[in-house]
């Protein structure tokens, strides 16, 4: 068919091209669900999958997005956050896309959501066993900082050969008197695999341990899926005399809701030039602030 005819036909139908529910074709969803099952069966292990191209660019959450699209049903309630924020550009964009191809209800309230897709944060509110947290992952390989080759890192995981990772942490301490890893702090899952928890702050790492919720990680560009099932032990890498520590917000509180026990974004006040703070988790902040009851 000539393109012009096609376009005319489209116009006459008064409707955009019709896509399958949740965009992906059914065989693609089936494959991804199978890979998720495998990931759940082997906690922390990176399962390769045939990542599809989505209308959102690789590196913008396509791994998480493919997981969400594969598991979402018409009765689900969706929340999407980017760096903790419901209104951030990427979150809005992804939520709009999923809404368009599924028609599901969306929310900004953590406890109302059945599926939460997130980039770089775990919500402050403890999530339940009825919820799924889908994390977008830029670098699925925690060992990449010590070894560039995929062939070699897969061998290292296979043999649980993690000496270079420990050495890296040790040398870091020698050099800086601190472990200098900020976000993306490596963890051991279920006493076996070292896993990249995605670039969540260290603040969120303890939430992974023995959670009620399932965490599914998707890396679209690198084509990997991995998972932390509920009630799984997740330990940050640390030494007996050099303990893992979360970000320090001593003396700081959110300027909107006053919380002193949440992860805070640092903002420079335009007028006074002073450092002020604001909750990174906007959904939680709105609740505390009484904006949503």
């Amino acid at each position: 068919m000539k393109l012009d005819n096609y376009m005319k036909r489209k116009e006459s139908r008064q409707k955009a091209v019709e896509y399958n529910f949740a965009f992906l074709d059914e065989s693609a969803k089936k494959e991804i669900r199978r890979k998720i099952l495998k990931a759940v069966a082997v906690p922390g292990y990176q399962v390769p999958f045939a990542s599809r191209e989505l209308p959102i660019a690789k590196g913008w959450g396509t791994g998480g997005l493919q997981i969400t699209l594969s598991i979402i049903g018409s009765g689900d309630v969706l929340k999407v956050i980017d760096q903790g924020c419901d209104g951030s550009v990427n979150a809005v964009n992804i939520k709009k896309f999923i809404g368009r191809v599924t028609g599901v209800k969306t929310t900004t309230v953590t406890r109302e959501a059945t599926i939460i897709q997130t980039r770089h944060r775990i919500p402050e509110e403890r999530m339940s066993e009825d919820q799924i947290l889908v994390l977008q992952v830029p670098f699925p390989e925690a060992l990449r900082m010590v070894e560039p080759s995929e062939l070699e890192t897969r061998r290292m995981h296979g043999e649980a050969d993690y000496s270079r990772m420990w050495l890296y942490l040790y040398e870091d301490i020698v050099r800086y008197s601190e472990i200098s890893i900020g976000a993306r702090y490596p963890v051991t899952v279920n006493g076996r695999y070292i896993m990249d928890p995605s670039p969540i702050p260290r603040w969120d790492i303890p939430k992974l341990n023995m959670a009620d919720t399932i965490y599914i990680f998707g890396a679209g560009r690198e084509k990997r899926i991995y998972a932390v099932p509920p009630h799984t032990k997740v330990e940050p890498l640390e030494f007996e005399d050099f303990k893992f520590r979360v970000e320090d917000f001593t003396g700081a509180a959110c300027r909107r809701c006053g919380s002193a026990d949440t992860f805070l974004d640092e903002i420079i006040d335009e007028v006074s030039g002073r450092r002020i703070y604001q909750c990174s988790d906007t959904g939680q902040c709105d609740l505390s602030n009484g904006k949503i009851s």
Binding site: G59, Y176, P199
Partner: protein, 372 residues
């Protein structure tokens, strides 16, 4: 320099999209039709089909229009469209001897069976701006075409098939043979669109990845090898551009049906190497991509050969390095994602930096830390 945590932005995003649309249509010229792009910017269409991994000239033309000529974006749109289509089957392996040739040359032999056919090429043109084109119109086009064909004597049709140049060398035993698939068996063929790459990748996975690779990316790596970071001194054994049939097997009757044809560019480069027994031999590098894209096919062939180098030393010889970095859609997306907010990760880094400085002040750089 301060940074501001921008919250919200739904409206801003929508306005940005509207502005993008407006940017393309705000000029006074007539709207560009997709079929004009398909016919007159056919090399862009070919490139987008190759990198977008979908042979669909009309859709590729639409993508180029929509992306205002950005081939990365256009290929990306085509790939995303592709993701909505189920894989209904596989076509039958097609020997490229059965090609409707548009162009076919060899740099290895002057006289080749079937003859050298230059076809439409810019290779020997002077790259001078043709100001006549500013007055391009139907009348001048018609008269050009009339002049071109006037008085042309009738030549016989081109042969239906062309023997491959490398067969000459193969007969003499100058080529190293590789085990490979033959005939109609596709069982051993990897499908990179349905399985993610693992390393070491097989030949079929390697060639598929390169066939959908970004032209510039392939060229960069191939160029690095031929320039000196590697030791492939290639000879283009044969370069073909033409149309090959796409055939499928009927699921019940097993009869073969031709369902269409695709334009392809195929390159076979020859490079010398010394075998383990000390005897010099030729090896082949193979490249094939959708559409007319000679730079890509040749680069692909050189990289195919480079990755067979024993004892890899250079980036272009390292299969994992090459295959992990040539996909334009992957690379574009990741490069663009740095524009997304990174407030949380940056905050986390900031915390580490301040802590490290504190420790420095307390106990001096280089000494063991103290638990606080």
């Amino acid at each position: 320099m301060g940074y501001v945590a921008v919250k919200g932005g739904t409206e801003a995003i929508e306005n940005a999209a509207k502005l993008l649309y407006y940017e393309r249509i705000k000029g006074g010229t007539r709207p560009l039709k997709a079929d004009q792009i398909r016919e007159q910017l056919y090399l862009a269409v070919d490139r987008v089909m190759g990198e977008g991994s979908l042979y669909a000239p009309d859709l590729a033309a639409l993508a180029i229009k929509q992306s205002a000529g950005d081939t990365f974006e256009a290929s990306f749109m085509l790939r995303a469209y592709r993701a909505t289509k189920p894989r209904v089957g596989y076509s039958i392996p097609q020997a490229t001897t059965e090609i409707k040739v548009v162009r076919r040359i060899s740099a290895a032999f002057k006289d080749i069976p079937g003859g050298q056919i230059l076809g439409p090429t810019s290779d020997y043109t002077l790259r001078l701006l043709d100001f006549e084109l500013l007055n391009d119109n139907q009348k001048t086009r018609k008269s050009y075409i009339n002049n071109l064909f006037k008085g042309l004597r009738d030549v016989g049709p081109l042969p239906e098939s062309f023997p491959r140049v490398i067969e000459i060398m193969r007969k003499e035993g100058l080529l190293t043979e590789r085990a490979g698939n033959s005939g109609l068996d596709i069982s051993g063929i990897y499908d990179v669109t349905r399985q993610s790459l693992t390393f070491p990748a097989g030949r079929s996975a390697t060639l598929q990845s390169m066939a959908r690779g970004e032209t510039g990316g392939l060229l960069l790596l191939a160029y690095s090898n031929m320039r000196g970071y590697g030791d492939i001194h290639p000879t283009v054994g044969e370069l073909r551009v033409g149309y090959v049939p796409v055939r499928i097997k009927h699921p019940y009757t097993s009869e073969l049906y031709t369902v269409g044809e695709v334009k392809i560019t195929e390159a076979e480069v020859i490079a010398k190497f010394t075998a383990n027994d000390g005897s010099p031999k030729f090896t082949l590098g193979y490249g094939l991509c959708f559409g007319h894209n000679e730079t890509k096919a040749i680069s692909m062939a050189i990289l195919d050969r480079a990755m067979q180098t024993e004892g890899k030393r250079m980036p272009s010889e390292d299969q994992e390095f090459v295959l992990s970095h040539i996909d334009g859609i992957d690379a574009l997306g990741f490069c663009a994602h740095w524009k997304l907010p990174h407030y949380v990760t940056f905050q986390s880094d900031l915390d580490r930096l301040r802590k490290t400085r504190e420790s420095d002040n307390l106990c001096g750089r280089g000494k063991a830390g103290i638990e606080k």
